[in-house]
Amino acid sequence: MTTSQPLTGTQPTVRTCPLDAPEEYRALRAQAPVAQVTFPDGAEGWLISRYEDVKTVLADQRFSANRPTLTGGGAADGAPPVRPGWFIFMDAPEHTRFRRLLTGEFTVRRMRQLVPAVEQIVAERLDAMAGAGSPVDLVQAFALPIPSLVICELLGVPYADREEFQRNSANMLSLTADAEVVQGAWEALRQHMHRLVRAKRAEPTDDILGKLVQAGELTDEELAGVGSLLLFAGHETTANMIALGTMCLLENPDQLAALRADPALWDDAIEELLRYLTIIQYGLRRVALEDVELHGHRIKAGSLVVTALSSGNRDTEKFSDHPDQLDVARARGPHLAFGHGIHQCIGQQLARVEMRAALRALFDRFPTLRLAVPAEDVPMRHDMVIYGVHELSVAW
């Protein structure tokens, strides 16, 4: 860092309550909303903790999304290569080209049309759970397979390939599998995407990849990249919202009771869970392309800037009514769980459809659902980019 100011500390990562953001954020928001810190991976930069500032930074294209990885990497002096098709790391106008090709596939209307297919997938998983009998690990039996199967539907993965696809995406995300298995799963998925693209070139289909192929704007490399980005960005995120959302509702029985009494609250409840849990727990990384002034601090070109979504979503300036409480009837306000600015989650309407279908049906199907272990014993994803539970043993 080429600045004379001392570092003010490290990014808060320790949670006192597994469902609350780290407490230090409160003090940061009050006293050092633009703080110079060291991040968990050792990188140094600026931590933005207030709601309004998070939005300001994410809407400002002087902050580039072209950073090396979601977790790692400090200031970019020389833009790192972006994997073909991974527009999450691209800036406009390159980003715009990819995003515009896809937004038509993710409209509110398109996602509503997917509801029956999603409900069917959910119902099959619930049948399988009922068949296996209580207790089960909700993560493996329910939360992970749903988004994986939905993405198969969206990308047009043939039924015969879905089991292999699902096994590979589970292994790709596994912590316990050997590095070789994880690497092998990545490679298998990459090849799978390439096979899919080739098949769709030969025989046009009506799914996202099929239509992208027909649009004729992207190379095979880019098409396979878009496919793997959708899987990567849409699988673990949605899975953790389903599993952590379940735990959160079980731990807040009054809120669950309110939902049971008035199912019309589910839409607001999903927004509240997204806000309250903000699973992208460390926030979003950007790199300043030029010097930028923020609250009297000069953020130098090349600096890493992290917007703490989880802190902004608990900011009393924005959510004046007890932001640290889960309130499924809270008036819906713009939360930051899907980010902000041009990269705001393209899959958010799909995520909403999946979460609503999954959580509603789960609590309807198993009215006596409960944690099978004490909440303190649930292994939390403390040091993972995407927060959630590693395993959630539930009984009914």
Binding site: T103, T107, R332, I342
Partner: protein, 64 residues
């Protein structure tokens, strides 16, 4: 109340459609915002203002 949209800024996030379905829609081809009602009745004011606040791309402007 008058509503102005900027199609070039829109990133097709669909927030406006959820917030004010009588005023905003999305084009089927590319998900870009469509203004259904440029002069919505005052009864929809809070919905429309919410849509403008939710829009991640600052593509919606509410005049008066």
């Amino acid at each position: 109340m008058k509503v102005i949209i900027d199609e070039d800024k829109c990133v097709g996030a669909g927030q406006c459609v959820l917030a004010a379905p009588d005023v905003f829609d999305q084009r089927d081809e590319d998900g870009i915002v469509v203004l259904l009602d440029a002069l919505p009745p005052d009864a929809l004011r809070s919905q429309v203002e919410n849509a403008a606040a939710l829009c991640p791309a600052l593509a919606i402007e509410v005049v008066k």
